[in-house]
Symmetry: D2
Amino acid sequence: MIRICQFGAGRIGSIHAANVAAAGATLAYVVDVNRDAAAALAAKHGARVAEAEAALADPSVDAVIIASSTDTHADLLERAARAGKSIFCEKPVDLSMARVERCMAVVKQAGVPVLMGFNRRFDPSFAALKKAIDAGTIGKVELVQITSRDPGPPPQDYVKVSGGLFRDMMIHDLDMARFLLGEEPVEIFATASCLVEKRIAEAGDVDTAAVTLRTASGKLCQISNSRRAVYGYDQRLEVLGEKGMLEAGNQKPTTVVASTVEGVRGDKPLHFFLERYADAYRAELTHFLEVCAGKAKPIVGIEDGRRALQLADAANESLKAKRAIAV
Amino acid sequence: MIRICQFGAGRIGSIHAANVAAAGATLAYVVDVNRDAAAALAAKHGARVAEAEAALADPSVDAVIIASSTDTHADLLERAARAGKSIFCEKPVDLSMARVERCMAVVKQAGVPVLMGFNRRFDPSFAALKKAIDAGTIGKVELVQITSRDPGPPPQDYVKVSGGLFRDMMIHDLDMARFLLGEEPVEIFATASCLVEKRIAEAGDVDTAAVTLRTASGKLCQISNSRRAVYGYDQRLEVLGEKGMLEAGNQKPTTVVASTVEGVRGDKPLHFFLERYADAYRAELTHFLEVCAGKAKPIVGIEDGRRALQLADAANESLKAKRAIAV
Amino acid sequence: MIRICQFGAGRIGSIHAANVAAAGATLAYVVDVNRDAAAALAAKHGARVAEAEAALADPSVDAVIIASSTDTHADLLERAARAGKSIFCEKPVDLSMARVERCMAVVKQAGVPVLMGFNRRFDPSFAALKKAIDAGTIGKVELVQITSRDPGPPPQDYVKVSGGLFRDMMIHDLDMARFLLGEEPVEIFATASCLVEKRIAEAGDVDTAAVTLRTASGKLCQISNSRRAVYGYDQRLEVLGEKGMLEAGNQKPTTVVASTVEGVRGDKPLHFFLERYADAYRAELTHFLEVCAGKAKPIVGIEDGRRALQLADAANESLKAKRAIAV
Amino acid sequence: MIRICQFGAGRIGSIHAANVAAAGATLAYVVDVNRDAAAALAAKHGARVAEAEAALADPSVDAVIIASSTDTHADLLERAARAGKSIFCEKPVDLSMARVERCMAVVKQAGVPVLMGFNRRFDPSFAALKKAIDAGTIGKVELVQITSRDPGPPPQDYVKVSGGLFRDMMIHDLDMARFLLGEEPVEIFATASCLVEKRIAEAGDVDTAAVTLRTASGKLCQISNSRRAVYGYDQRLEVLGEKGMLEAGNQKPTTVVASTVEGVRGDKPLHFFLERYADAYRAELTHFLEVCAGKAKPIVGIEDGRRALQLADAANESLKAKRAIAV
């Protein structure tokens, strides 16, 4: 049975811990600067609270899950890699490209497998859409549209340390663009505004963004982001190819539809990522356990994290320069 | 922590056992005439294999789940009731109305809570539809339509002992009709055919059926059943009221839609009850644990089982008599 | 150019007259007991107002459209038939079966083509569904569901002379059932209530009905009617066959969908038959002109009118007798 | 009755002529360099074939419809304006901005009303979406997405004289963007590829394009175009605002859906603009007749034509410069 040490006992950490239990693996240690949170999560799943050093030194620990705050990711990745553990790390590796590259070098030398938490690749609908592309359902991909909108903007404290919309939010869509295009973007153009809440502009950030990617062979991708979709988490994909179009739409809590004098009304999409990507998190963890067991290689790795960050940085550059940036 | 003894280690038993574990209750014993199946399921969830007598005699057991074959239900209900356990029993109580009534008397005297496994009442969409009725979204209910079709007919061995389509399959829809109409049917008309496979007629059964119910105040309900919907498990509700209509549709594995020269194509509905009602089984078990803990009363009980059987028997009578039967 | 005499200058008459003009035929005469209505419609399309006798005596008139009140249909059918005109007659032929049969004999002897106005057979979606059945898309038909609900009940004056829900409203659905089943019903069961407005019961009629048909080979059909669907004209078909299901849904004025905090809301269905079946009326008239030109035979004739009435009468009988009636 | 002279007897001319007839106006003259086409269309609607000079000199002619080839538009606009006729002109005014501006001056001096043929503004669904924006359904507009794809690329002869994708095809979407944003774009970025057929690149054009617009207040709009959507004419709008999202989807020939072992399949969208925008052409003509009758002012005029062309030209400039262009 695979034994896991998890860093981070917050919202996303709780999900991973539950998925570890449900999948039949063992949560051995929980590490968190918030000792109470660590203790509560550990108690729930029969794990022990520990310090990072001790936990990583335990040879019975096969793998680590890094679900702590962003600024700890690179350091923990290096330490876990040096300790020879299999690693599942939430995105991003780091907000600094230089730091990412140093970290990648350490990981590479250690030779351990790293799964980066681009959870959307594991969403059953998005994964099925990608599978349909690969099966040739629509022939060569020509034009990708990615819609990604949060139900509401994050608190100001989060905005300030988030690294900005492109690195915090659109990074998921930039990874999805690479996943769907099946070829690297070579050019990016970004424009964006602060339309939702003024405080976001005051923090030097934007809340509404439109990005265009272009690959070497001329495939195009449009991404749009907003920090506010009052009707719920709006997560849709659309891919046009020579033989047709594939779409993956939003998911809803129920199928109930009410027809009244006011029209025909159905549910809003699921509220946010915890609800919408519940299945994706489960599938992601299952995949990680297969990686730990040596039965699979990570389908998304640290290099994918670096690429997505690179695109996000180029988006920021394009936003300022008002021109396409080569990547 | 609630301790449970489960009778039955088959397909549906496995689901309940997993839900018990996920919900944080303890599976103490597994009882099954198939000792291997019992042992496997017990091992998976840290339970012990036992005989019924020993398990029911254990005072640390709070509750029983009866998921064994239909012919054992009434007997186990009585024994568990006499032992003072809270009971969750798969439908039906029995195929004989006289036996059902004897069993009800025993249970009543014991005073234990019994939850009958009409799982569809716990389906999130169906439950939300019922809630919308109760909230007055469509005013008074006038006309209910229930569509219920299996992906394919059961094996002949099952057909022979099933009690017939009305008591085996439509019984769920008859319960749903009562749930949605909010008032007891007083009249039933049934017609049916064998159109799917001749072997079903050879076993004295039908595979395609249309039933009409009528309540005292004149509300109407149409139910249709088929043992074969090649596109998957077709489970839909529709309720017309004075202020509108409520519908609950099928559920699909993914939201992926492909538009090609051949049309616009999406997924088939989920294959069968294990997939479609996975959330319902989970919610049902959660409710049962609340019942065990004394925090809730069963929302569907043994009397509901009796009523549904009575309607199924009347449907059989109507089918033969070619007239409406008062119930 | 085909020259037409139209009886009836009311709501449905106006539609037929406009379709005659649009299709490039000539409206020669308009006959209506309401001379003002006749004059207005005639003026709009360059026709003349006439008495029935004169119009039918004009040898330059090729065809008649009978869109006057129900009680005039049989008489006009006979007179037009004797005058050798091609006939398009709104349903029903008459509310009395004996009268229908006498009329049929006259028409038969005259040898003129008669198209009965079962407009729904010409609805593009319903016609496409039938075509898909005939093309074998779902194999043998097993189970048909017909939903047919008006947006609101007719005025009391109309209710009193309508002949009752089965002969006035469900007659369309009974014809559709025959059309889709592809084989004659041999048994009918009907139940019905007055749930919408008490005045309807006071007129001896019902407003909510559920009917079940059965063919010789055991195919089943369920029809439901309501005089009130506050969300608009609800006209849907569903056919289950051995290889799948075909559905035809409601039509909406626009495709606009609004997602807000209150849910995801689209248009109600088109309001009533004039809007919903506008295309059907157009196609029906085009077909009639082809019949007049000798290029086609009526796809629905006076015998279909008789059959539908027979089923409606049997539905009334079943409603009273509470049993299935053989037809 | 309004008397009209129509220039152009081709595909779109035939539609306008039929709509003129259906709306109760008179088609007096048809002018076309192809005399046979002119004669055929004139015969069908009881009009006369004429030369431009004679037709424009006829004082009984109230209005002209310009549906001839693009290179004749500006000249005919000027001549018709000088003759004091009300004008309905298909887009574009001209492919040269200088020519457009000269033409506008002439028209302005003549003081005649000009309706530009941006037919999509008249599409019932698009018009309803715009009305919902204006009604405040989604509050302030933030982000607009326009999807516009032809079923297949035009013939090479057309490609060569079309003026290029931005001025020929996307010009409709650029007008729609202005319509929906409710404020002028001040910046445009375009990128595009030739992915569909090499011959298009050989003619110096592109077939797949992604454009981003930005208004002064920071509202964003993404437009995507492709010359090939094998599943039919793909014409969709989506508008995100502070209080929700509005969408207008594709339209389909029928509502028929087939559920089989292969999935759940519905119709493809209507094939191309003649089918999809049939209602829009009708509504547009009706509006023009109201303009002719002095009852309405053109809802889209020659200045809108100039603006759309300006944006198309800027898109071409952006494509070459790889940067956002201020407009």
